[in-house]
Each structure stands twice: as structure tokens, then as C-alpha cells.
Symmetry: C2
DNA sequence: ACAATATTGTCAATTTATTAACGCACATTT
DNA sequence: AAATGTGCGTTAATAAATTGACAATATTGT
């Protein structure tokens, strides 16, 4: 059983996907699954699944496989989805409003405040959203100690706002602004660069129409029958 | 000069970021840059930048570096941003509407149609959007041959809709539904799994906070923003 | 014009990630 | 209860990605 604090980011990024598939299995009433069968469904190798999971502990049983319920719970715990992190949203434009409805259902995070330069305009259109003015930010953070900021503001203000938020105690950013933030290494940044994502897709489609890109977006992988 | 047809997906994913930085440099009036200086600004190694760029050709000059304008143009060409791909959006909810405004400014893609199960309701709220009913989909695709579909529909319909779209000639998906699509390997899928992204951030923030408390002296590698 | 300096493109070394192999424990069958 | 098969956890092998090193070649300054 490996240590918890030296897990590669690539492994961490696969965990939510495992969780998603396990949740589906649970819904289907499947109570046990082998790494081989899960690998087949997810388009991975059984070896990788076992290795990934064993970064956090041995959750399976020889000759049986993994208990879906138990493994799902374990990953939930590993991802801290049982703990609710207080978060604020900065910039409540079209995208921010779309995300807010998503966030109210998300596990592991609780949206406790929304901020915008022009709160009145937004609240008029969406009376259900309680949007505060940016001027209230300092006071709010001092009182409620949000740990995560969801950044949905124009690129030109993103860096300055991010720095300010760090000084107000924010520890992690979900960054939808189209810039890379330059912050202290102790601050976590998860970028959702939609422009980058779209360009990657465009490249792959163009290239696919001509030739195949190594390691491209194929949804399936050939599975080894080695174990 | 290496071949164009065996480039790793990791390299491809870095190209849009290079492009973003070069565009900024251009705006600042900087006309030349060395791999060393660009690496410093982007938080990468100079070696990686040179290696990445040389997958597509030698754009630099010894003793001089790279011409910003020229390199920017080259990457634009590599990413096919000079070609406009026709795209349609399926599902025009909150997120879809947010993306549509973003898309009308994006290079390399042209949104030529929006579809929803309930087009009237949306068009009433947003008279500027011409949203069609899903029933018009077949006819529209036959006539206008869209190549990319932006999928913003509930998870439970995503797989079925994606398969249908493939049969209508769609070659690539920008998938915002919270499921992994199972399609022919020749079809490109770029997933934007917001839930997964958020869970990754949560994990990293939690882990960072624990490590700090435990006095961990390791320099973190939470995301590609290290400098 | 020529030396000194800068910086690329490429190849080699290193590091990281993935896949395969295998022994052992457990489940299942007879 | 013994025999057989399954499938995990782990270690080893392979593959991929990143970083380092350096010859080649341009630029810059005198």
C-alpha cells in the first residue's frame, strides 16, 4: 500500500471517472466487479485500475473483485466528497449562472456567495440569485472564510482578482478565465480553458480527417487478456 | 524536422497555450523571444518548448530565437484556426447559452445551428437565438453538413444522441454531458467534465491543506502553473 | 572581418507512466 | 475437504515524456 501524499496528478484525475462509473454500476444494482470487467467498460487496462486504486489502499479481494458500494464509498472519501468546502463565485455572467445551478448539486463543495461588479442588474434578471457587489468581498471572506473561488471574470481582471483573493484566504481556484494565473505554489489552480479545449478538438478532427494522431481521442482501448 | 502525423496528445494540448502566450506577446509589441524566456514566462523548460515546436517544423533561428509574429502564425496554421469548421449545438440550456456567446468569437469554428427539445421556450427568453427543434436535425445536417457537435444535454440522452449525430455525419464532439461517449474510434471526443474537474480541485486543496499542517516541505505540483 | 555570445535543433539521459507477469489468497465446485 | 479457477496486490518490464547536453549556426559588437 503506497503513501497518500505522493500520488501522481494523472492518477488523481482518473479518480472522479472511476467514481462516475461506480455510481452508474451502483444504480444498475451491480454489487461486485473485477478490475478486468471495469477496465473493459472504461476502456482502460485492468492493470492500471489495480495500480491506481492501490495508491490509496487495497480495496479488493482475491478471487472476488471489488465490492461496488464499498469501493464507491472509499473513492468518495479519498476525494473528500463527504466534506463540504465553502466556495464563492466571482463574476456571475452567463457562464457563472450556468455553473451555479450545477454547483448547488455538486458534492464536496458549497457555494456560499456570489459576487459581481454589477449585482443589481443580475439580481433583477435572476431574483433567486443573491449576488453581492465586489465591494463586499473583504468583509464576506473575513466572516465566512471561503476556501475556493470560482473565477468567471474577464481575462484582463483575473490575475489581479486572484491575487487579491489569495490575500483574503482563498486556497484553490476553479479558473474559467482565459489566462494562466501566477500565484504562490501552495495555491491550487484547476483551469478550465474552454478555448484551449476547443482548439484541441479542432486539431484532432482536422487531423483525423487526414491521418491518425498518436494517443488520440479514441473512446476505446484494446484490452489485454493477460489477466 | 519531425513528422506531423505522430504527435503526442500532450504536445497538442500545449499548442493552444503557446498560442495564447504568443498572442499576448504580440499585443505587448514584443517581436522576438527565445525558448528560454518563453519557458520562464510559461513555467516550462526551454527544452520542452523547442522539442514541442520541432514536432511541426523548425521555426526558430540560432542565435536569435523565435519571431513572435511568425511563430504565432505557424501555430494558428498548425491548429487549423484559419479554417472554419461548421458546428451545431445540441441542448441550449444555461450552459449552452453561455457557450454560444463564447463560440461566436472563437477562431476555427462556426456555430451554424442550435437545437433543443423545447425551442420555443428558449427563443421567447432569447429572441436573438434561433433555436430549432430536434425534429429538424436530420434535415439540417443533410443540407449543411456540420462536422462538430457541442453536446449540452442531460447525461441520460447523451449516448443515444451522440450515436445519432455520428450517423448524420458528425466527426467530433465537444462533450459537456457528464458521461463518457462510446463511439467509433475515428470520431474525436473532447470531454469537458466539469464534475471531474471540480473533484480534482477539491482533492488537491484538501491534500495541500493537510500537507501544510503536517509541515510538508515538498514543492507542490498541483497544476501546470508553477513558475 | 572576426571573435564572442546567444540560441536553436537534435540526440542522449533521465524520469515518469503504463502494461505485463506472477505468486498468493480467496471463492467456488465437486 | 480437496481441487480448481479467479483475481488482487505487487514487482518487473516496457513505453512515453521530459530534461539535459552539445554541435551547428546565426547575431552582435568592436
Amino acid at each position: 500500500m503506497k503513501q497518500n501524499d505522493s500520488v501522481s496528478l494523472l492518477v488523481v484525475r482518473r479518480l472522479p471517472r472511476y467514481y462516475r462509473f461506480l455510481t452508474e454500476l451502483k444504480k444498475s444494482g451491480i454489487v461486485r466487479i473485477s478490475s478486468k470487467e471495469l477496465a473493459r467498460r472504461m476502456g482502460l487496462t485492468a492493470s492500471q485500475i489495480r495500480q491506481d486504486l492501490n495508491c490509496f489502499g487495497g480495496f479488493g479481494q482475491q478471487g472476488y473483485g471489488y465490492n461496488v458500494d464499498q469501493l464507491s464509498d472509499e473513492i468518495e472519501r479519498i476525494l473528500f466528497l463527504d466534506v463540504s468546502m465553502p466556495a464563492i463565485m466571482i463574476g456571475v455572467g452567463n457562464l457563472g449562472r450556468a455553473l451555479s445551478s450545477f454547483l448547488y448539486e455538486a458534492k464536496g463543495i458549497k457555494l456560499i456567495g456570489l459576487f459581481d461588479k454589477n449585482p443589481k442588474h443580475i439580481t433583477e434578471l435572476n431574483p433567486d440569485l443573491n449576488v453581492m457587489g465586489i465591494t463586499k468581498l473583504d468583509e464576506f471572506c473575513a466572516e465566512h472564510k471561503p476556501q475556493i473561488a470560482i473565477l468567471c471574470i474577464p481575462s484582463e481582471h483575473a490575475q489581479q482578482m486572484a491575487s487579491r483573493l489569495v490575500s483574503l484566504g482563498i486556497k484553490g481556484f476553479w479558473n474559467f478565465s482565459h489566462v494562466d494565473l501566477h500565484l504562490d505554489p501552495s495555491i491550487c489552480v484547476e483551469n478550465v480553458h474552454l478555448g484551449d479545449s476547443l482548439m484541441t478538438l479542432g486539431f484532432n478532427v482536422h487531423t483525423q480527417l487526414k491521418d491518425v494522431v498518436r494517443g488520440g481521442e479514441s473512446t476505446e482501448k484494446t484490452d489485454s487478456n493477460a489477466d
